[in-house]
Symmetry: C2
């Protein structure tokens, strides 16, 4: 189950090589001894650089996490291409994207706990709701937009517009669950995905019924309002 962690391919300038060496060393050590069980001194050592040098490239130990995050996101995107090419209905697309997420992230399950720990701190730039995370958030919702927009389902347009963001929130919840999931093969998370995706698909269909219109509108307008005054003009 724990796949190997592959060193990333092409170094370029000297600096880039050093940087990559540090990330590789860090990921390997994190994998072996966990985040707290790995010291910056060990990472520097394994990468063949001095402690101070490691800090030249990475502001802090936590910033090494961001590097790991970028890697998994890329791997996820790649894995999603096949899924999105294959699946045409919302349910299949969503299920595939989520399963791809937990599969590509599997080698990093241990580390991910720490990621979420720091990510949950409102002050941390790694926090997914922070302005600093805008690019990452954008990429993730863009993926969900593809899940929705190219799907063949009939979805009320007002809902269709907001769905990518709502699905991103849903994805975050699934990940949170996954982090706490110690079951064999992440069976519990798989079950959660299977069943909630099914329910969401049903829900989206039901949401189109005339009866549901008021509930749907108030839900969607709430999302709008909250998003609108989330960040004052400049943030």
């Amino acid at each position: 189950m724990p796949k190997k962690i592959e060193p990333v391919p092409p170094p370029a300038t000297k600096g880039e090589r050093t940087r990559a060496a540090i990330v590789d060393a860090a990921l390997k050590l994190f994998h072996k001894h966990g985040y707290d069980g790995t010291t910056m001194r060990e990472i520097a050592n394994a990468a063949g650089v001095s402690l101070g040098n490691a800090y030249y490239y990475f502001e802090s130990k936590e910033h090494l996490i961001q590097a790991f995050y970028e890697r998994t996101h890329l791997e996820h995107l790649v894995a999603c291409e096949r899924v999105l090419a294959r699946e045409k209905k919302l349910e299949g697309r969503l299920r595939g994207v989520l399963l791809a997420k937990i599969d590509t992230a599997e080698p990093y399950h241990r580390i991910s706990g720490i990621l979420f720990k720091t990510a949950a701190d409102p002050k941390s730039p790694l926090n997914p709701f922070s302005p600093a995370s805008e690019p990452v958030r954008r990429e993730a919702t863009d993926l969900m937009r593809r899940v929705v927009e190219e799907s063949s389902n009939k979805i009320p347009t007002d809902l269709r517009e907001k769905l990518p963001e709502l699905l991103w929130l849903y994805e975050m919840s699934v990940i949170l669950f996954w982090i706490h999931d110690e079951s064999k093969g992440r069976a519990r998370t798989r079950k959660l995905i299977e069943r909630t995706v099914e329910m969401l698909a049903k829900l989206v269909m039901v949401a189109g019924l005339p009866l549901m219109k008021p509930l749907r509108s108030s839900a969607l307008s709430l999302v709008d309002e909250l998003k609108h005054d989330a960040l004052p003009p400049g943030g």
Copy 2:
């Protein structure tokens, strides 16, 4: 907006007094300089004990947070009594309980970020899903059980049974939102509560319709299954 933090009343044995002094000092300092801005040495100092002694009473700095958590929970319970005596319908009861939560927690808003930070760590005993948190979780769901069971609404019995746990999850989400809310008077959280409570009430009513039966059942059985194999026999 930032109310005073009251020292807790009655000391008893010497140990209890020392313990209380440490908690009081910690809460005051956290409030003034934030969690990271406060050192254990300062806390010990302010409490008039040595550093080592502080660690005799509290395993770690994080464990001081649990003390704070217990305090706010008690204050919340007290505030809820009036609400539950007054409100008879689900919507009013739920709204009142949530507003009481963010009002009583207001003086601790700054610290709460850290609470959630550690809470998101699967390894932390402070994590609300951990076995160690069972008592706290129990108390919180019990409160929600009162919200539901003594409410005058008609609710399908299968849903009524699971609702307390679901509402607890909902409460956690609201708190997560609140932690990130820097708006004046926590206006955004208030809006979120107002609108989602309204929607939930509608949803609970709609859930009783024959049309919704399959969706409702699959949702409820999922909750059951996931809860069931959450903890293997001994955990």
